[in-house]
């Protein structure tokens, strides 16, 4: 912690701020999430710090609750995509042969369909609940993680220490979790930061298009959508959630960079 760069500190500060706000949203928010408390698009005042939204709800409250939804969905989807993608990727790399071919070609197939269009098609027939959203985003994104995990693991599985483990008679579980994973951690952690950001952007996009989080539940993309008409009248309401998305993305990236720096300097770690 001592020799942390300023960029990392800024990143960590904002990331922590957003996550804490998401965690304690009901305690921090001045009003109820869906409570209509004022006029349409009131300017900021001591009563409403950021003004009100298109139907008179307090915008700050909406932002805090919105952050909660966005971060929750992005986090869960990232965890899902990472667990699935990296385990499958390692499994494919360690197994090799037709197992690798079968999984890789299936992943190629999924990746050949643009993920936004894929998601829109699925969401148009499935109920848009939070669970379905997380599942869909996690599954779609795990293909990208799979690609990276497999590429990294293929490099590692040809190392002599993996061969030594095979000669010892080790099972595939040991080879994946004890020989491969610790050496693949650095690139995966970096990718995790990036993926989280993509998830946040993805859920915001879906909500903006009206297929993501459904009202009255708030999320940042949804708030932009609700207030986008205001921009025509010079109302800032739609921009605040946009700022939030940008600052969250940048600060997570800074944190990921920092973690990457720390892990690569571990003893004998690969870059």
């Amino acid at each position: 912690m001592k020799n942390m760069s300023i960029a990392a500190m800024i990143g960590l500060f904002f990331t922590a701020l957003y996550f804490l706000m998401a965690l304690f949203a009901p305690l921090i928010a001045p009003y109820g999430m869906a409570e209509v408390v004022g006029d349409v698009w009131e300017p900021s005042s001591s009563e409403f710090l950021l003004g009100t939204d298109s139907i008179g709800r307090d915008l700050l409250t909406r932002l805090i609750y919105g952050g909660r939804t966005t971060i929750f969905i992005a986090t869960m989807a990232t965890i899902l995509s990472f667990t699935l993608g990296s385990v499958l990727g390692f499994f494919a790399a360690v197994s090799g042969g037709w197992v690798d071919q079968a999984i890789s070609r299936f992943v190629d197939l999924i990746m050949s369909i643009p993920s936004l269009i894929f998601a829109l098609v699925v969401l148009s027939v499935m109920p848009t609940t939070t669970f379905i959203l997380i599942l869909l985003m996690g599954l779609l994104d795990s293909t990208r993680v799979y690609r990276l995990a497999r590429a990294v693991a293929v490099d590692i599985t040809v190392m002599d220490y993996v061969e030594a483990a095979r000669l010892r008679g080790e099972k595939i579980g040991w080879i994946i979790f004890h020989e491969t994973l610790p050496n693949a951690l650095s690139p995966l952690v970096a990718e995790m930061g990036l993926r989280f950001i993509f998830m946040a952007l993805f859920i915001s996009t879906l909500s903006f298009l009206g297929l993501g989080v459904q009202p009255p539940l708030a999320d940042w993309g949804g708030i932009v959508k609700e207030n986008k008409e205001g921009i025509n009248y010079g109302i800032q309401a739609a921009l605040y959630p946009a700022y939030a998305i940008v600052t969250l993305c940048i600060s997570i990236n800074l944190v990921a960079d920092w973690i990457l720096n720390r892990t690569t300097s571990l003893k004998g770690g690969r870059g």
Binding site: D160, Y161, R166, G169, H178, K267, G268
Partner: protein, 545 residues
């Protein structure tokens, strides 16, 4: 020519290191070295890795590689102080007056450009020759260096010539701009002995004919003795001894030099074959998947319990493939392997756990043979846990015993491989193999990545362990000195076939077949005129035929 071409005084070089969790700091890697090179003379640098020999060589070009910086001292070249010169002057020097030949020609040539273009580049860039002149000069150098087809070889790409030829092309590259000094940085280390002798002879002849001076850097004293006029012995960035080649080889003054000269003096009395072999490889033929070429052709090998069988051959002879077949990584297309009286399954996944345990392997590169994220006690402890189910204190005790057996004391259990030296790493790999209580250990070039003195230590350790544990070694190597030191019986392989086999005394005694003769006579000897004598002997023989 008695004027000093290169004059180096009090050269100090330091490197910036970045220890984790601490501030970057500078450490001195060369502590004040003085030397002179006269025009047309060759100065050899010898020392182990980390002795600073390459760094000193590059300093002659006023260059520090990576984070290396020349901190003090004077380097006078042709009367100019090149450390004080501006970058423009240094640029004229590099590639014009001083040129460089690196260890790995394959990694140094640009694979996308033809050889001729790269050989003439510096000469044309420096304005020493026109393109036409440079190309003519290159062709004459190719001829002088004994490259086949000197007229047209320049039109090939680097991957279209062999390793030894490429190294000679690189020598041509260095000589093309008519430099005053060439820095040879381990030019033959990556080559097979049979190729090394030709390249060495070519380099020596080219140096003599062009009258260029040279710095010749290597860790092999026998090699440097063939080409140098003077030799400087370095250890950890400081000079140990300096003298004429004759004096260093025949009358070394310092303890360290004496150790270098007498390296590989291990004596091992061969054991006689027993009744029943431990390992019997019969009629093995093998090829890699997707190829139509047999890497091993009808190979037969026998190894007796508690003995050492050395498999010798140059790269591409199939010796490592044989190890892969025995371990089950590459199932053979024909033939069988009998181990301790039972037939081994050809394929690794179907082998019994007992077979896996009794047949262990040690690798050439200890760096990549250990997981960099595991500490030593995990690396050695895993086989104990895996094969014998040892846990807790019992396991720790056994790990400690094994560490003592490989002559590493306390304080190694919690280290990561990156915190060990090359020799210590290889020792830990040996301990890992021993932990399984094997009957046979396959040693694949285990000493070839190590410095000679460290390698000697490893060989002694292996011999001692053989006495204590009664384990057999299948020792794969290209180094005949190693073979003489430790083998009981020898198999010579060439292009996938066994050309000669038997006990050590049988194999190393005449009459020889052609290949074994070539292999044995190519091993550099610590003798001044070895190179000339061998080449002359070969010319005479081929003339007689």
């Amino acid at each position: 020519m008695s004027d000093k071409l290169l004059k180096v005084r009090g050269l100090k070089i330091s490197a910036r290191i970045y220890p984790s969790g601490q501030r970057p700091c500078d450490i001195a890697i060369v502590h004040g070295v003085d030397f002179d090179v006269e025009g047309g003379k060759v100065l050899g640098f010898i020392g182990e890795s980390g002795a600073g020999k390459s760094t000193i060589g590059l300093a002659a070009m006023a260059y520090g590689r990576g984070g290396v910086e020349i901190t003090d001292g004077k380097v006078h070249f042709n009367g100019r102080d090149i450390l004080q010169s501006g970058i423009r002057d240094v640029r004229k020097l590099r590639g014009g007056e001083v040129t460089y030949v690196s260890q790995s020609a394959a990694a140094s040539f640009n694979p996308a450009k033809k050889i001729m273009e790269q050989v003439t580049e510096a000469a044309i860039f420096q304005g020493k020759f026109t393109r036409k002149e440079a190309e003519d000069r290159a062709v004459s150098l190719f001829a002088k260096l004994g490259l086949p087809d000197p007229e047209s070889i320049g039109n090939r790409y680097p991957h279209q010539v062999s390793g030894g030829q490429l190294q000679r092309c690189m020598t041509a590259l260095a000589l093309c701009p008519k430099p005053d000094l060439v820095v040879f940085d381990e030019p033959t280390t990556a080559l097979d002995v049979t190729t090394q002798i030709d390249v060495l002879a070519a380099i020596k002849e080219a140096i003599r004919d062009t009258g260029v001076a040279a710095l010749y850097i290597t860790h092999d004293l026998a090699v440097v003795a063939q080409v140098s006029d003077h030799i400087m012995v370095l250890q950890q960035g400081a000079m140990v001894e300096y003298g004429t080649t004759d004096q260093i080889i025949n009358n070394p003054q310092e303890e360290y030099t004496r150790a270098l000269v007498s390296v590989r003096s291990i004596q091992h009395k061969e054991k006689q074959p027993t009744e029943k072999p431990l390992l019997k490889v019969e009629n093995i033929t093998a090829r890699y998947r997707g190829t139509n070429f047999d890497v091993l052709k009808d190979v037969n090998v026998e190894l007796h319990p508690g003995q050492t069988l050395a498999i010798v051959g140059e790269s591409g002879s199939g010796k490592s493939t044989l190890a892969r077949v025995i371990t089950g990584l590459l199932p053979p297309s024909e033939g069988s392997i009998t181990f301790d009286g039972r037939i081994l399954s050809p394929d690794l996944p179907t082998r019994r756990l007992e077979d896996l345990r009794e047949l262990q392997m040690i690798y050439q590169m200890a760096d990549t043979a250990m997981n960099p994220r595991q500490i030593v006690s995990t690396i050695i402890g895993r086989p104990l846990e895996f094969y014998f189910g040892l846990k807790g204190a019992e396991k720790q005790k056994r790990i400690q015993e094994l560490l003592e057996e490989i002559e590493l004391g306390d304080g190694f259990q919690n280290r990561y491989p990156a915190e060990l030296s090359g020799g210590q790493k290889q020792r830990v790999c040996i301990a890992r193999a021993l932990a399984a209580k094997p009957k046979l250990i396959i040693c694949d070039e285990v000493t070839s990545a190590l410095d000679p003195l460290v390698a000697d230590g490893i060989l002694k350790l292996l011999l001692n362990l053989q006495k204590v544990e009664d384990v057999a070694y299948l020792f794969i190597t290209h180094d005949l000195a190693t073979v003489k030191a430790i083998a009981d019986s020898i198999v010579v392989m060439y292009q996938g076939e066994v050309v000669r086999c038997g006990t050590k005394s049988q194999v190393l005694a005449p009459p020889f077949d052609d290949y074994t003769d070539l292999l044995l006579s190519s091993v550099p000897k610590m003798k001044l005129s070895w190179l000339e004598e061998t080449i002359a002997h070969r010319k005479m023989e081929s003339g007689g035929n």
